[in-house]
Symmetry: C2
Subunit: 447 residues, 2 copies
């Protein structure tokens, strides 16, 4: 902790040779995790200096630990030969994540520097669409055939253990490379060496390379598996999705959902190391869309301007009513968005969700409405109390229903549930809420 | 998929013996993951029926896969002897999670049924505070001493492999049980059998049992480790935090943040299996607090009622301005809340964050303000345009600053950043935004 703070103070873009020596020494005595954190908290140019002062091996470890977007940002600040070395040493799936983030000409150049075997294996991963399991899997797998003996398999593993991403989850194939089962290293290790793999293997829970990465990753983590075999459409083994890649996929998805739930795009790299302009860019479009949709509320109020002029008291409750509608809608939307992300709710559940949320909204509206009626009757008049109470009942029921089904509708049309729900609910519930409000007001107050 | 839908249709709380036989057969032919999903989508009473129709072993697997809160809910619907059996077979850390969710007298009764050795090991975990690493670790560890040979260690592991939660991450201790290093099974397996463990072990990244579970779990997953040794304050090995427990901790925390970011409490069990009344309960307190704080806005508007009566046009923009302030504030708050959760931002960064968000808010406000000025000038008048433009500039700067630092302030006073930010920002930015609006309006319009 102290080291990091020291380093944050002494790290500058222009260092004298003396200072550089001092920082380099400090870096040598700092644990790798602290250095990673420092890079995540500093600007690209300072991080570039830091990488130049790190030992080669440690620099590689730090680089590999960063998000792909962050890696891509750093490339310009690093020496070209260092970039090529990092790229060469990366796992094929991480390599592809980085390629996705750099301009096409840089990607081509990077790919050209790879040896043929490495380029081929990277090509396998690149061949699958973004957001698919294939794009995130490790294609480097050891083929264990079901007719091998346990002893032979253990000997093979001992020789190859160093090159593989994992040896703890072992997919088993037949002579056509079709996945036929799975075996944990623990089971293999404790089995009789003369048995055949087919005698000890268990039924494999596997994924298809074209499956969606997020739901597969959540599934793997729910099952507490270390890795899941990945097959092509014909059932042939093509790779392995490991728990750490699964966790990375889930964390990216959750960060994206958190961002969109809050009405902006995810930054995709640590907050403090993100240039300010990128922070603005992640928010401005949403804010504009939301503000422009809010013009609808100006329009609604414009329509009712005469009513407003007759009873200015109605204006006092506008923020309270639109706020409550927005809150109720967002409660329902975040619940259902999260349930969709976790797989607890599916598209086909739309009517079940609507029925649930309608009742929840009605109940919440009845509670808030009674309270609103009592308070407003007391401070203003019984008529105003009735308007407020009835409006709260109506808008809560409406907002919870809309908020509950919007994420599902979004998913059904292929949009991210988290994108579509928030702005839609804000605007829709504000505008509809105001219409309901003035209609109830006109009816009750007789204006 | 078809199986689940079939099962959803045929599963009822009252089944004739014939129907029960049919469901039981269907269950036997359904993969475990599908059965887990079904339990997560159905009511407690139906789930009780389902458990009775499952074979003993499969029922245990399904029960273990559920959230602790969900397990606790199900206890009343299950046969007592089944509950005791499940409880007996669970891992100590899962057992403790369940104990946390049931009433104290049930917890005592469950604990009494355990054998002494199991009760002791559960007691170790129970001894650590909620939310700590100790409460979530696996206390069942194999002691590997640094002066053992690789061959002896491998032989010991072969004998004990079945009883351990993991054999892939191996903490190494000295004869005082102090943690001195770590070794992966892969390294052990490929090492020379005559070497001593101290020659092949690496420096261990470990956690203290009293450390916060969430940050430790995120750290473990960031490092891509399968497990992390846990020590007491004296550095003695007391357990192991595994990646799957770490993932569970992180997922719970993310679900909680998603819920609070949306203004409600997390359900802690799958949405469709949650009784309606619990859904209402998870939302009503937040909604009430938010609505009651919104009374502040009624009060502010009441103060400016005269101004409003003079220029009713001002009322038209209220939802747009409060909405934009709320959106800007929430953007900043969700960004910083997520950054805090991921460890990208710390409490000591408060001034750095304030300075960033102030500039971001000013920039966003300047963009929206210019647009607002242009549109409002065009439709209404230049004066109205100026009021709207200046107000947008002011409220965006204010809301982003407040939204950015509130999560940090919340954390500094020991509250959940996600709890404190949302309601505070909504209310504060609505009320402050309105005051700013009317002050600017009075100045510009001269009323």
């Amino acid at each position: 902790m102290t080291d990091r703070i020291d380093l944050e103070h002494v790290l500058r873009t222009h260092l004298s040779p003396d200072e550089a020596r001092r920082v380099s020494e400090l870096l040598d005595n700092t644990p790798i995790p602290e250095i990673i954190r420092l890079v995540e908290r500093t600007s690209t140019s300072k991080a570039g200096v830091l990488f130049r002062l790190l030992s080669q091996e440690r620099a590689l470890t730090v680089f590999e630990a960063l998000d792909a977007r962050h890696q891509a940002d750093l490339i310009g600040a690093l020496h070209n030969e260092d970039v090529l070395r990092y790229f060469d040493e990366m796992d094929p799936d991480d390599r592809v994540s980085l390629l996705d983030e750099v301009p096409a000409e840089v990607a081509d150049e990077l790919l050209r520097t790879l040896e043929k075997s490495e380029r081929d294996i990277t090509g396998v991963v690149l061949g699958y669409p973004r957001g698919s399991v294939g794009r995130r899997m490790s294609p480097e797998i050891l083929l264990l055939y079901q007719d091998m003996t346990v002893g032979d398999a253990l000997a093979l593993l001992k020789r190859r253990a160093r090159d593989l991403e994992t040896i703890y989850t072992l997919p088993i194939v037949d002579r056509d490379r079709k996945l036929t089962g799975i075996c944990s290293f623990r089971d293999l290790y404790t089995a009789d060496p003369h048995q055949h793999l087919e005698d000890i293997m268990a039924e494999a829970v596997s994924a298809r390379a074209n499956d969606a990465a997020e739901s597969t990753a959540r599934w793997l983590l729910t099952l507490d598996h270390l890795a899941m075999p990945v097959t092509d459409e014909g059932g042939h083994l093509v790779g392995l999705l490991t728990f750490d890649d699964a966790h990375e996929i889930v964390e990216e998805a959750d960060t994206e959902d958190a961002a969109r739930g809050g009405g902006h795009e995810p930054l995709q790299q640590p907050y403090l190391s993100t240039p300010l302009i990128k922070v603005v860019r992640s928010r401005i479009v949403w804010l504009l869309v939301l503000a422009l949709s809010a013009i609808l509320t100006v329009h609604v109020l414009d329509t009712f301007e005469e009513t407003l002029a007759t009873a200015v008291v109605l204006a006092l409750f506008i923020p309270l009513l639109t706020g409550t509608a927005g809150n109720t809608g967002n409660q329902a939307a975040t619940t259902v968005t999260r349930a969709l992300a976790l797989g607890d709710v599916e598209k086909s559940d739309v009517m079940r969700v609507l029925w649930r949320e309608m009742r929840v909204g009605f109940f919440l509206g009845a509670l808030l409405g009674s309270l609103g009626f009592t308070l407003a009757s007391f401070v203003y008049s019984t008529e105003v109390g009735m308007v407020i109470g009835l409006t709260l009942l109506a808008v809560c029921t409406m907002a919870a229903s809309i908020g509950g089904i919007m994420p599902i509708v979004a998913k059904a049309i292929g949009a991210d549930p988290a994108v579509f729900s928030n702005p839609f609910i804000s605007t829709f519930s504000d505008a509809t809420g105001l219409v309901i409000y003035f209609m109830i007001a006109k009816a009750v107050l007789g204006i």
